[in-house]
Subunit: 413 residues, 2 copies
Amino acid sequence: MENRLFFTRPDKLKEDKKKLIAKINKEKEEIGYYSLPQQNIDNILEFSKKFDKGIENIVVLGIGGSSLGSKAIYEFLKPMKELNRKLFFFESTDPLNIANLLKQLDMAKTHFLIISKSGGTVETISIFKYIFASNQNRDSYTFVTDMDSNLDKFAKDLGSSIFYLPSNVGGRFSVLSVVGLLPLALCGVDIKALLKGADEVSESFFDDGKFKNMLLDKALFYAKNHTQYNINCIFAYSETLEYFTQWYVQLWGESLGKKQRHSSFNVGLTPIGLIGPKDQHSFLQLIMEGTRDKSVTFIKLKEFKHELYVPNITLKHLESLDILNGIAFHDLITMQCDSVIEALKDEKDVPLDEIILPCVDANSIGALMYYYELLTSLVGELIDVNTYNQPGVEAGKIILKEKLQSKTLSHFY
Amino acid sequence: MENRLFFTRPDKLKEDKKKLIAKINKEKEEIGYYSLPQQNIDNILEFSKKFDKGIENIVVLGIGGSSLGSKAIYEFLKPMKELNRKLFFFESTDPLNIANLLKQLDMAKTHFLIISKSGGTVETISIFKYIFASNQNRDSYTFVTDMDSNLDKFAKDLGSSIFYLPSNVGGRFSVLSVVGLLPLALCGVDIKALLKGADEVSESFFDDGKFKNMLLDKALFYAKNHTQYNINCIFAYSETLEYFTQWYVQLWGESLGKKQRHSSFNVGLTPIGLIGPKDQHSFLQLIMEGTRDKSVTFIKLKEFKHELYVPNITLKHLESLDILNGIAFHDLITMQCDSVIEALKDEKDVPLDEIILPCVDANSIGALMYYYELLTSLVGELIDVNTYNQPGVEAGKIILKEKLQSKTLSHFY
């Protein structure tokens, strides 16, 4: 993985960088995600090796941090190789969606992973109840939860397999823990390579490698300019990265949208995920000519490993498009990305950088996700928020509980 | 369809409203989309009635305004009823994506709609060439383009069916023209009901109905506060509206992100599409506690027409969640939406409104899309931009052409 910054890197910030590194090193002792690339995964590998060969579908019952990470990796790798099993996600209480997903599943060949830190997630438990009502077989379920949570106790009574979340790893930073690794391993993803990719970025950052200054400079720029550039776009030139951008949206938005620790002012940076070239025909106009409130990070693939060419044919009246003839689609999409970057460079006041992934494999996505986790931690520290909590979502949950207790619906009925 | 505004409606703006209405009425004489709900669609109905019954797949080769609208409607209706045919979209030059889509299609049962105003769209024509190289059968293709465009000439020589775009209808405002109606009619969507829904909003707006003041107030609020609230979120509580939000993102972003007509300053409003309850676990924290730079429009469904209940069972250790027992998922998702709205109302400085759709049908989505087209026109007029062009995307296209001519790739190879 490479990263090139096209904006002017902050100058004379040696002291700021030193302080920031010191803080992150201290945080590292406490916050669990930092050391996930070095964890022992023998139990997960063992479990998936012995797993029932008759199971064709793995269904994750989980939402937000319990699903977005594994979905991002699964959808990234899926077009490249035939995976062992199909992975599904029940993430919504939308009845149309639930009914539609259930229709696709042969229950005898389906295994459910119930992933909930506390076991109290309304969406996850309501759907679990629905499924459990017609299938109480312990072997159909595996649980991923906190040790001694109520869900842990339930799972123990039921006699199903249980995996525990590591301590001090929040949902949106949990992709490289059992939360992501278990479903992915069951589908045949090389989770060792995934962690190795993350470990390379970790080592580079913490041992003075190339990513150290890169990440510090990028974080300092975003934090210093967060009131002007309050929107941070990722523009990924591959459809395979669509769910990665959704994972990024949660990571960035939920970590950085907070009341400041020392002032209680509302701050935040708004993440936007875009896919090229599709969104050149949608969002690009706004980036090129709209308000100067956006930074853009382009992500491109060095190798697509898929040989597909525009054929050498001339269409009458459309001869002007013969310039496309003989070109590999792979080169075309890269040229499209480069053309947009060049056009945007001329605008001067849109901060740009590009990330280049070597190819579509587990190593690349592991590196990319860990890179974004580190960037989030750095920016969170700099804009003075608690990166790891989400107090803002509690108010709605309390109101929902009241509504459920009184079964009061709004008045439009 | 209903719409309720929870922010303080702009006061004493009678004069502004009068002026705005006058301008829109003038624009209506020139800009084609306004009168699409009243168009004659006999030719489309006739064509789809006589269409080859052996065709099971309709593939749209088109991008941006040529695909997002029909995709939004197709994906909205799909979970509710069995449609006649499946609709696919080739929107990317990503080779992984193209190869993957082609694998799914039985070519003998597939018909292609090539949709391009000018016929010069790089993505559309490069993929068309790829498919055309192995199938030159005129009956496999139907073309939708401008009369006398090069693509029209090519299609005439080939002898395929051709439909023409109405004049003065830009891509992102074309969903209710043949661009959207043709693929949808071929899949069995009730396009008459679609237009009827749009016509109801049109009539209400232009004939002093309930939507007139609603839309004027909302547009005036967004325009007056566009520097503070530079981000406009749609939070839709149904998975079926996911592609509607993508259509909205193009409509809003590409129409409003412009240099101002009278100053050439960069202005714009940034659209964000969210799906509930999923994004309560992702983006909600940022709305609740982040910078006050966002407005939020909630969209909910009155009827899901799908009876699915949380069963009346108690799970040991999880008794606290028995409050979910017996509730319809339909009511649960509505309660989740209402709870978030209530929690946000307490924050005071986040402008909110809600739109209620009667149910998942063609009428509802037609109304909703026309409502958003009108809102976009109103805000564009107020922030002094040309709502209907997209000059910002040209620079990248010119650079791409140069690259294609010299076949120069960037230097990372």
